[in-house]
């Protein structure tokens, strides 16, 4: 499936002339596992793709995260307009490698850039986002205590590119505040029997741009811990991103997802490919 998508992306890329927008390379970020522009697990204030003011852009991506006892596959796409609006869709399939079976979730994302310009203003770029999540295999999350099969995450993200910071290289910093009811980002449903309140969590990324095409990043994602049956922990990852050109980028990383559904210390690889037009 992933392979087929990669081939399809490849064909599209070679057949399409350069329609890329005007934004500077890498400033559209990558696609997160939730489909919003960002790093790997943290949505940023940047808008997906290379559409600058008055321009449209589209992206499509495939991501796989393989940790000790689980494999997450994500396929998604987004369109954006005016470097202000981003609409995204992501379909997640979380394979329970040891237990058997899978958990699927769809995520519809909307992001609106409210202030600042990543590169050009002292004020960081700010965006407001929402992610509507719909679980498609709710029997298991329900059995372990989740209340709802749908949830709405709201977030405020701030991103800033700082020029000439480390060895003359630019650094991109991002901080995101998210209100969520999700258990394991929604893969284990939303809320629990006793508690249906929003939890406020912090997410952050720091990225060092070695040059225009290569970047190294680190991310942290705070998570609530609401299901009694098993502990949930914060996530982190490190990654290298290669923006080959404005049409194609690759990300490879190492993720630490902590404890998931009673399986401790879930660590492993992160790979992602994104095409942009």
């Amino acid at each position: 499936m992933i392979l087929r998508l990669i081939l399809l992306l490849g064909c599209l890329l070679t057949s399409m002339a350069s329609l890329a927008g005007s934004k500077i390379i890498a400033t559209g970020g990558a696609s997160t596992i939730e489909g919003s522009a960002g790093g790997g697990i943290v949505p940023w204030a940047v808008i997906n793709g290379y559409g600058s003011s008055g321009e449209w852009a589209a992206t499509a991506f495939a991501t796989q995260v393989g940790v000790d006892d689980f494999t997450l596959n994500v396929l998604g796409a987004s369109i954006s307009y005016d470097n202000n609006w981003e609409w995204s869709l992501a379909r997640q399939t979380f394979k329970l490698d040891n237990l058997g079976g899978e958990l699927r979730q769809d995520i519809f994302g909307l992001k609106y850039h409210i202030a600042g310009e990543l590169l050009y203003t002292a004020l960081p770029q700010f965006s407001l986002g929402l992610q509507y999540k719909k679980h498609r295999d709710f029997a298991l999350p329900s059995a372990v205590g989740a209340r709802d099969d749908t949830g709405l995450d709201l977030y405020l993200a701030a991103s800033k590119m700082l020029f000439d910071q480390v060895a003359g290289r630019n650094v991109l910093l991002n901080a995101t505040l998210r209100a969520t009811k999700a258990n394991q980002t929604g893969l284990l449903g939303f809320g629990n029997a006793d508690n249906n309140d929003y939890q406020l969590v912090f997410e952050g990324s720091a990225v060092l741009l070695l040059n225009y095409n290569l970047a190294l990043g680190v991310e942290f994602k705070q998570k609530p811990n609401q299901l009694a049956f098993a502990n949930e922990q914060h996530w982190r990852d490190i990654f290298a991103a290669w923006f080959i050109n404005k049409q194609l980028s690759l990300v490879a990383g190492y993720a630490d997802l902590g404890s998931i559904a009673g399986f401790n210390s879930q660590q492993g690889y992160y790979v992602s490919i994104e095409g942009a037009w």
Partner: protein, 142 residues
Amino acid sequence: MQLTTLFATALFFLALLSGCSQRPESSLYQQLGGEDGIASITDGLLREIEQDQRIVHHFADTDIERFRKLLAEQLCELSGGPCRYSGGTMQQSHTGFNISLADYDALVDGLIKVMQQQKISISAQNQLLALLAPMYKDISYR
């Protein structure tokens, strides 16, 4: 936790590396190649603008010789060279053109292309971009 340590270590080595390979003591002006370097950057940028359908229309009525001279002066002064910029303020000079974010991105993209072609170090490029980026508020949407 391990990951953060790893990243911190990588940063540390990069910082160390840059320390050893001595960050040039020379001014940005020298790193850009002095008078000749800035003349080639200016000419390169003018060529990029000329070929860029997205922004070339803004320059339809511009006295290009004057623009070239002033842009070179400004880059020279900004980068610490021995020049005095004799043109108008950025705000005055760009009023009436309604220069958009996309226009700004296009021009910066062109400048980056030229600096890459002229093998300006990534550090010098970033230093120059750091000086030009904040002019956005004076130049755009006026």
